[in-house]
Every structure is written in structure tokens, then in C-alpha cells.
Symmetry: C2
């Protein structure tokens, strides 16, 4: 086990990746393995290693010591590989059907070897191509309910929760979100990227003090509220789907934050589908509604049956927690709509709209919907009111 015992970090290549999985006994020594680097290469290397003869394969994910998206000048510690592996293990305890199985982790190499999900498709791509994924929202609602309940002070004792929160100390990846989601898009920042034709709209947004005050409050919540272990990057590119299965991947941004954040990011990334194609309104609104209802039902059941906290029996407390979560989610979703439109990291849902005019209009809609959701989030008492609002929004 030469590589697996190696304490010095070095990026893997297709040859050394094969050596590693054979050293670890994940495949027979003599078997022929195919290896391919399939990552998008922003923060990590991703290798798919397949034994075609026995129809067996695994994924090796290795963290890079920098973020490629902004060049090698943005260094990142490798600790996030451990965060990701630790989060996947926790998710696996509570929702084994909704995350890849982890075969092996090595913190020195910043490597996680896990189940190959190549038979599934990245949900964002599938939705863009017209898939509807009927089980997606039920599955994600279950994932959210269980991951956000079982890591909270309601299920864990407060000391156990604090010990877990300390393990998920993740300042660098939090900072990416603090800057790129909550700050830069709302100010004239170097990282922003948008079409020249949007300049007036963006200037208006930067001068919108009502919006900025509400964005400040949402950023404060992200900075200070450790409600439970959140995934931290739960967009449709972090979910694999088919018509039967759903798998959440890539929790390297995981930390203890406000539980509405994961829900909001998922909502926003579904909304891009309506913004880019109003014909999908029904299917997407059903997904949003169903995500929330599935989350709420399962979370409420766990609250009643598995909480050690005496106050969870007090009438009105669950409603308070759920309402705060919904309103936070709508606000966080608004931030995601704006930052994916004019910030550093865009989405294919919008950037892939072929017609320039339609693309511009979709981006303007994304900005104005994001703005309204941030500013008016406290008006929504239930998911149905939010869905009604979305139905009347002029996309």
C-alpha cells in the first residue's frame, strides 16, 4: 500500500489513481482497469476507474490545493476532503439511499473513494434536457429533513452538537460563500461577471438600499447561526438523478449554518428552470412545493418522535422553527438567483439560453425575482403563499 501510506500530498494522475485502488484491494491485482479524469476541475480531480470485465467501478475524488476557477492564486487547504468525507458518512447514516457510499478516505492525500454514480445524470443537465425526475423533490425533502434534524440541538445533545460543529470548522469554503453569494454581487466587485447590456439593472441593484439591508441580514445569519450541519452547496449540480434514484454529492462546503440555506439554494436552482423556460412552470413549482412539504412532514415527525429537547413539546415552537426556515430559505434563494446571474459562478440554465435577447430577459427576471424574494421573504407564512406568488410573477 505504497500510495495509501504516503503522507505527502501529490495530485493523482490516471496511472497513480489505478495504483492506489489496486493497493487498497478495491480491485483484483491483475485486472485491466480503465481510468478517466472526469472532473470539471474547479476545486478537485475526479477519476472514474472501471473494471469492464466484472462491471465494477469507483470514483476517486481528490482535492486540489487551490481553486482553479480563479487560477492557482486562490489557495485552499486540503482539509475540505475530510469535511466532505465526514459529511457523506453522516448523511449515509441517516439517508443511505440518497448519497454515494464511501469506500475509503485518506486525509493526507485529500482523497475520497466512493460509489460510481455514472448511471445517473447531474440533475442540472437532466432538467435542462427536459427530464422531470418525478422522485427528485420527495428525495431531497427527505435528505433535508433528516440531515438538518439529526445534526441539530433537538436530536443531538448540545455538547455533542458543539463537538460535531467543531469538526466541521470550514472557514475557507464558508468565505467563498460569504464573498461570492452574499457580498460581491451586491457591490461593484471585481469578481462580478455580467453582460454589458445588464449594466443599468446591476447599477440599480447596487443602489437599492432596501435590498442591501436585507442581504446584510441574510449574510449575518450565514455568518452566525449554527442551527445544524448544512451541505452548503446544494444546487442541482450537486445532485445526481434518474427517474428512480437521487444522490446528493459534493458536501465540501458543509458546516454548521442556518438550515434554510440548503433549502434556498435548491429552490433557486430549480427556479432557474422556469426563468429559462416558462413552459416548465408547473413541473418546477410542483417540485418546489413538494420539496418543502416532504421536508416539513418528515422534519415534523422527527421533531415529535426523536427530540430530547423539552421545549419541542411546547405548542407553536415547531411552527416558529419551520416558518423561520421557510422565510430564510426564500431569502437565501433570492441571493442565489442574483449571484448566479451577475456574480462569478454562473449556471448553464441561464447562460445556455441560445437567443441573446431571451437570455438577457431571463437574467433580468432572475435579478428582479431574487430582489423580491429577499425583500419580501417575511411576508410568506406557508409554502402555498410562496407558490402562489411565483405563479403570478411575470417571468
Amino acid at each position: 500500500m505504497a500510495l495509501a501510506k504516503e503522507k505527502i500530498y501529490e495530485p493523482l494522475n490516471e496511472d497513480s489513481a489505478v495504483v492506489l485502488v489496486k493497493d487498497l484491494g478495491l480491485f483484483e491485482k491483475e485486472i485491466l482497469l480503465e481510468c478517466e479524469e472526469i472532473g470539471d476541475g474547479n476545486l478537485n480531480l475526479v477519476f472514474r476507474i472501471a473494471d469492464r470485465l466484472n462491471n465494477k467501478s469507483v470514483i476517486i475524488k481528490q482535492a486540489l490545493p487551490y481553486a482553479k476557477v480563479v487560477g492557482e492564486s486562490w489557495p485552499l487547504t486540503l482539509q475540505r476532503a475530510q469535511i466532505e468525507a465526514d459529511a457523506l458518512k453522516i448523511y449515509h447514516q441517516h439517508t443511505p439511499n440518497l448519497v454515494p457510499k464511501v469506500h475509503y478516505t485518506n486525509n493526507d492525500l485529500a482523497v475520497t473513494i466512493m460509489e460510481d454514480l455514472s448511471h445517473l445524470k447531474i440533475t442540472r443537465s437532466g432538467l435542462i434536457e427536459g427530464e422531470s425526475y418525478p422522485l427528485l423533490s420527495g428525495h431531497i425533502g427527505e435528505f433535508l429533513a433528516k440531515s438538518l434534524f439529526y445534526t441539530s440541538d433537538y436530536y443531538l445533545t448540545p455538547p455533542a452538537k458543539k463537538a460535531l460543529a467543531k469538526k466541521f470548522y470550514n472557514p475557507e469554503l464558508c468565505k467563498i460563500t460569504e464573498d461570492l453569494v452574499f457580498t460581491d454581487p451586491f457591490f461593484n466587485s471585481e469578481t462580478n461577471e455580467f453582460e454589458e447590456e445588464l449594466t443599468d439593472d446591476v447599477q440599480k441593484l447596487w443602489n437599492d438600499l432596501v435590498l442591501k439591508l436585507e442581504a446584510a441580514k441574510l449574510k449575518k445569519s450565514f455568518l452566525t447561526e449554527g442551527e445544524a450541519l448544512i451541505h452548503g452547496d446544494l444546487h442541482t449540480g450537486s445532485i445526481f438523478s434518474s427517474n428512480e434514484e437521487t444522490k446528493v454529492i459534493d458536501p465540501e462546503f458543509a458546516f454548521f449554518g442556518p438550515i434554510g440555506f440548503d433549502i434556498g439554494q435548491f429552490f433557486a436552482n430549480l427556479l432557474f428552470q422556469i426563468i429559462s423556460d416558462t413552459g416548465k412552470e408547473k413541473i418546477i413549482l410542483d417540485h418546489i412545493s413538494n420539496t418543502w412539504n416532504s421536508f416539513q412532514t418528515i422534519y415534523s415527525d422527527l421533531w415529535l418522535s426523536e427530540s430530547h429537547e423539552k421545549y419541542t413539546r411546547v405548542e407553536g415552537y415547531l411552527d416558529y422553527v419551520l416558518k423561520k426556515c421557510l422565510q430564510d430559505a426564500i431569502g437565501f434563494a433570492g441571493c442565489e438567483l442574483i449571484r448566479r446571474t451577475i456574480g462569478l459562478a454562473h449556471v448553464q440554465d441561464l447562460d445556455g439560453i441560445p437567443s441573446f435577447d431571451k437570455r438577457l430577459q431571463a437574467k433580468r427576471n432572475s435579478l428582479s425575482l431574487g430582489r423580491e424574494m429577499i425583500v419580501h421573504r417575511a411576508d410568506f407564512q406557508e409554502i402555498s403563499g410562496f407558490i402562489d406568488y411565483l405563479r403570478t410573477f411575470q417571468f
Copy 2:
């Protein structure tokens, strides 16, 4: 330096305490030292060591591995000595005039050697004896503003704040507060202690679902909101005073929590003075008002002059942060009023009232004022409204 180099914890006694300070060179080898254990003995040993000849003295504080208040059956790690010393050092950076100077710390022995403040009096005792401490509220307002600003995300970068929060991981002492302040007094718990004559009042409180829902929200805030480094136990027994000086001691409960907590605990422990003697209303209400105004003025100045956070320039954000802080403080103060009346740890302000009938009435007033402050905290927009409310309260 035999003792100072010793890695094995053992409680000091008056002899070994003297050996320690001489080993450390804090006093001349040959000098005659007087040593006295002066602690209240709940959680710590406290020795005062004096060189009468040269008029020099120090305090040694050593953590005990258990909480004596509930017998040796409540074990506590010794890590809190380090938390306390680390917090004192941070406070010393920003308000050197308002905390004792730390001469030496040893985490293995759980020992902190610090400035002797015997020329001052514990503020609770002084107030009970009729002292007015004219500088107290201005000093505490300054202490609160600086300690709560300089450890927040507004002054520290978010990664630096997270690193500091990790250092102040303090689950055991937090749990004492979570249980004894936020939970036990609101339920029929074994730890509660109150006069039989209060049984009806207490039963009413336990059945008050409006109150319990609001107490649940305040507990949630304490469990999840890491706004800044809070002292965590800032009652009038944790402050030394004279007419010229104020010194904050005992930050062993320090952790990253909601900033209104320290302010609320101080408010409540001042309020016990009115509750036990309405003749002190003016002097105490002036202290409460002045604490807030001093806090608000200094915090606002720092916010404008020393924040790196872009959003601090957005109109309304400072008001939002201050209003949340005030309302939280009033709610936390309400919890403190209730728990010091019927919970495990009482205060001399109430328990020392000689007349049984007056004592009972004072305790009833404490319960009902606490209840109102918790339930109606969101009605207060400014400190003046809260002071007006207190003026009309029937003590």
C-alpha cells in the same frame, strides 16, 4: 520551577500555592508570604498571596475538576481555566482598565495567576450595602461595546472569527447555562429551589405556554447564534467595583454566543436591586439606561470607524443589529430574573431580604417582571421605552 513544570493536576493548598508563586519568581525567595483561600468554592479554588512588607499581592485561581455547588457528582473538565485566561487576555487588549492583569497561566495545573483586586468590592455586595458606584454603568457599557465588537465578524475577518470561536469551544459550561437558565426553571425539574409558598406562582409559570414558547426561542438563540465572544456570566458577582474602578472577572463561561446575553444578565442583576428595595429605583434605572447608552455609543463609533464589513455602511443595518441586541437582552434578562428566583442558583439581593413576607413578594415580582420582559421584549424599540416600562411596573 517544580510545580510550574508539573504536568499532573493536583488541587493547590495554601502551602503549595506559596511554593508556586516563589518558583515563578513573582515574589522574592526569602520573603514572608501570607496565603489565604478566599473562593466561594463552587467551581474553583482562589488563593490570595500577599507580601505585607512590600505591599504586593496576587490571586491564584485554580479550576476544580467538579462543580461543588451540586457536589462532586457534577464533573467538569479543567479546560475552563484556559478559556478564562484566554478571555481575560482578549479583554485586556481592548479594555486593559476593566479587567485584572494576568501574570501567569498553566493549563495543566488549570491555574491563572492574576492581579489582586482586594481593594475593590464584589459589586453585588456593594450594591446590597448601599453603594451606588457612579462609574459602574459607563465602564460596563464600554466593556460590552469593545468586547462584543472586537470579537465579531465586523472587526475580525470571518475566518479569524471562526478560528477564535473554535478556541472558545466550551460545551460543558454552556450546558450549565442551557439547563439552569433556559430550561430547568421553566419545567418541574429537580434542580429548582423555591419557597413552598411560591408553588402556585411557579405552577402558573410552568403552565404558561406563551412564556415557554418565548423561552424556547431565547434558548435557541443561545444554542445557535455565535455573534461574538460573550462573557457568559456577567452578573454583579462577576464584577469588582469601587467609586473609581470597575473590573470584570470570571469569564470561564465565555464562548461565541448572542451579544444580548451579557447585557441582559447585567440588566437583570441590577434589577434585583430595585426588586429588593424600590428606594433604589432611580439609581438602578439610571445605571441600566447608562449601560445601554454607553454600549450603544461606543459600539456605534467602532462600527463606523473600525469595521471591514462592507454592509456596515448600509443605512439601517446598525439600527437592526442594535435593536435585535436590545430585545434579546431584555428577554435574556427575563430568563435570569426567573432562574435566580426559583432555579438552582439564587442571589443574595433576594434571599437576603430579612422579612419573609417582603422576600416572598419580591420573588413574586421578580417572576412576573421576568415573564413580562420575555414575552414582550419585541415591543421595545429603544432603551427609553424599556426604562419607561420599568418605571410603571408595580414592584
